[in-house]
């Protein structure tokens, strides 16, 4: 049922893209053809663009699912991603000559901690001052983008001080890639993280409490065994850590350096990734790859068919809306169907 409506959402999203491209006066068939070619057209396209793009989407998507399951909205993954990327670059520049596992481990830990620190501000504001995390996480995205700009023109700028980017990180901190492709070891990390988060959700007492809080914080609180605020805070911090980690993986596996616009909006796309997977961690792997394909195809579409890459946002938005509508309809359905429906935290 859920898988079917997810598939329908995707189909409607692509249809909406084709229709709006056609109405705007583009050659929709050529655009979609370029999209397909760019995403799945060859082994190289699949491994070196689609799967490479899927890595940050899966990792951030897991974090979004974690936060949403607790009933908290993290709309600031983009900023947390950048915080992680900055920390990863800084550490990556200082680990030359270390064994690779140490260097890479240091880069990833730093990135996750930075992402966690970035979301710690909204967590504090939420629980200490009652500021909606939706607004604070959003606003911090802009601060993070300005901070990246400051870093690549200031403390982290490359040695000759010409380009607004950092020096490349040490060889030791770079991830190994699948021969003949650009697919890096971060993909394995993304898969592993999905399994870990799935285990956490489905098989641990903490995961049970998380679901209870997401279903109704007050009811969970009244049970007397669950500190709802604490659960939500931890879920948000974990969500930030994952987004930060994604930034670190992107630096150590793809860009090897920090620059502006490192993320083509991964933090927002990951919301669609998590929702289409109905906040299920293993589902996030599939939807992450799917949206990775869309992102990869978007590049090809812009190159080969002259359609701006942002056009794929139409697909993302329609997917989100259709999933929301399907779930809302199910919520209003009779009790039997209702029990099966996944409730988005209100």
């Amino acid at each position: 049922m859920r898988a079917r409506s997810s598939a329908a959402a995707l189909a409607l999203g692509l249809l909406a893209l084709a229709l709006s491209l056609h109405l705007a006066g583009y050659d929709a068939l050529a655009a979609l053809g370029a999209l397909w070619e760019g995403a799945f057209g060859s082994w190289y396209a699949l491994t070196s663009t689609t799967l490479v793009r899927a890595v940050p989407l899966i990792i951030i998507g897991l974090g979004i699912a974690l936060a949403f399951r607790s009933g908290a909205f993290n709309i600031g993954a983009e900023g947390q991603f950048y915080a992680g990327a900055i920390a990863a670059t800084w550490v990556g520049l200082h680990v030359a000559g270390r064994p690779a596992p140490v260097a890479i481990g240091a880069v990833w830990v730093a990135a996750a901690l930075a992402g966690m620190a970035w979301v710690a501000v909204p967590v504090l504001l939420k629980f200490r001052f009652g500021v909606l995390e939706v607004i604070s996480t959003l606003l911090l995205n802009f601060v993070a983008e300005a901070l990246v700009s400051l870093m690549v023109q200031g403390p982290l700028q490359e040695r000759q001080h010409i380009y607004p980017q950092s020096d490349p990180i040490a060889e030791a901190a770079r991830l190994s890639v699948l021969p003949g492709s650009r697919l890096h070891a971060g993909f394995a990390l993304a898969l592993g993280a999905a399994v870990v988060v799935w285990y956490l959700f489905a098989r641990t007492y903490w995961g049970f409490k998380l679901r209870a809080v997401g279903a109704g914080a007050q009811a969970a609180e009244i049970s007397g065994r669950i500190d709802a605020r604490r659960i939500t805070a931890v879920a948000l911090l974990g969500s930030g850590a994952l987004a930060g980690l994604a930034g670190g993986v992107e630096v150590s596996g793809v860009s090897y350096a920090l620059f502006q616009n490192l993320s083509p909006g991964y933090g927002f796309t990951a919301i669609a990734v998590a929702l289409l997977a109905r906040l299920h961690p293993l589902g996030v792997i599939a939807t992450g790859i799917l949206f990775g394909a869309l992102e990869a195809g978007a590049g090809a579409m812009q190159r080969d068919a002259g359609v701006p890459a942002v056009a794929v946002y139409v697909v993302e938005s329609v997917v989100i809306l259709v999933v929301l509508l399907a779930d809302a309809a199910q919520r209003r359905a009779p009790a039997a169907a209702k029990a099966a429906a996944i409730r988005l935290p209100a």
Partner: protein
């Protein structure tokens, strides 16, 4: 002496200029939130309004552009109404999705209408309208009385919105919907209609804000040109405590924080400009921490 006077005058004028689109969008969002609707699609509605106004101005004239902008904002708000109010889907996620849709659609249409580079976009814009006499008051004269029409419009709309919200029966019903939709329904108020109406009004304001950005300030459209202003407007509503007067002060505060960079630039101080890019957001967060708690959001905000 005249130099520093000129500097302060310029600072004030820039503050008002930055504040105008924020104030317009935030005023509309105040109406929506008072009815219990938090609309994260505001950013997208501004963006849609911006592009529509550019198209209108390019084909007919600036005021047609303004009308197009408002219609575009209202159309997108209509979609939000269908999804978040009609089908009772989550408001925050629907709003985020609508903003994504607006980014995609405007990017697509813009490239088609104005070409890949987007250069050579020469729009008929709204010039500053100098109000005789008043504009010659030192300092505040140029800041308040030598501005394009939308600035005056935004100030004019404030007391109207205040009156409707707090002095009319309609406003009472609207606020009741935002405080407790269930109770308002018991009292015979058509809460769905209230929320839909408030959202569409909010969309019109957001579209007007986008049109202001294009026609009275930048003079052209660019992909993602609203750059988060819609989100800032939502923060301004909280900061202004869901009251038109408070919202005006908060918008001006944000405008001033943004305009500070011009002052520092003209003083030739070597402070990285990115710090000034961060400043308004940082200040807003600080102010939110201070402002929230002492005032309550509409109790039914965001409920479906």
């Amino acid at each position: 002496m005249t130099d520093s006077l000129g500097l302060i005058g310029g600072f004030l004028a820039a503050s008002v200029r930055v504040a105008t689109p924020l104030l317009l969008a935030a005023t509309g969002e105040t109406v929506a939130e008072r009815a219990g609707v938090i609309n994260l699609g505001l950013e997208g509605m501004m963006l849609a309004g911006a592009l529509a106004s550019a198209l209108g101005a390019a084909s007919v004239g600036p005021w047609t552009g303004v009308a197009f902008g408002m219609v575009a904002g209202m159309a997108l708000a209509g979609v939000f109404v269908l999804v978040a109010i009609g089908a009772r889907a989550d408001q925050i996620i629907s709003g985020t999705a609508l903003t994504l849709a607006a980014v995609g659609l405007t990017g697509m249409i813009y490239r088609r209408a104005f070409g890949a580079g987007g250069a050579g976009l020469n729009l008929a814009t709204l010039d500053a309208v100098r109000i005789p006499g008043l504009s010659r008051i030192p300092l505040v004269g140029p800041a308040l009385f030598d501005q394009p029409a939308p600035t005056y419009l935004s100030l004019l709309l404030l007391p109207i919105v205040w009156w409707v919200l707090f002095r009319s029966r309609l406003g009472l019903a609207l606020r009741a919907t935002g405080e407790s939709a269930a109770m308002a329904r018991t009292a015979g108020i058509r809460t769905g209609l209230m929320r839909a109406g408030a959202t569409v009004v909010g969309g019109a304001f957001a579209g007007l804000a986008g049109a202001t950005l294009v026609l009275a300030q930048v003079g052209t459209f660019a992909e993602r040109m609203t750059a988060g202003r819609g989100y800032v407007a939502i923060a301004i509503v909280v900061l202004g405590r869901w009251h038109p007067a408070g919202v005006a002060v908060a918008a001006l505060l944000f405008g001033a924080a943004t305009a500070l960079q011009f002052v520092f630039q003209s003083l030739g101080l070597a402070v990285p400009y990115q710090l000034f890019l961060m400043l308004p957001y940082g200040l807003t967060l600080l102010a939110l921490a201070g402002a929230v708690g002492r005032v309550r959001a509409p109790a039914d905000l965001g409920s479906s």
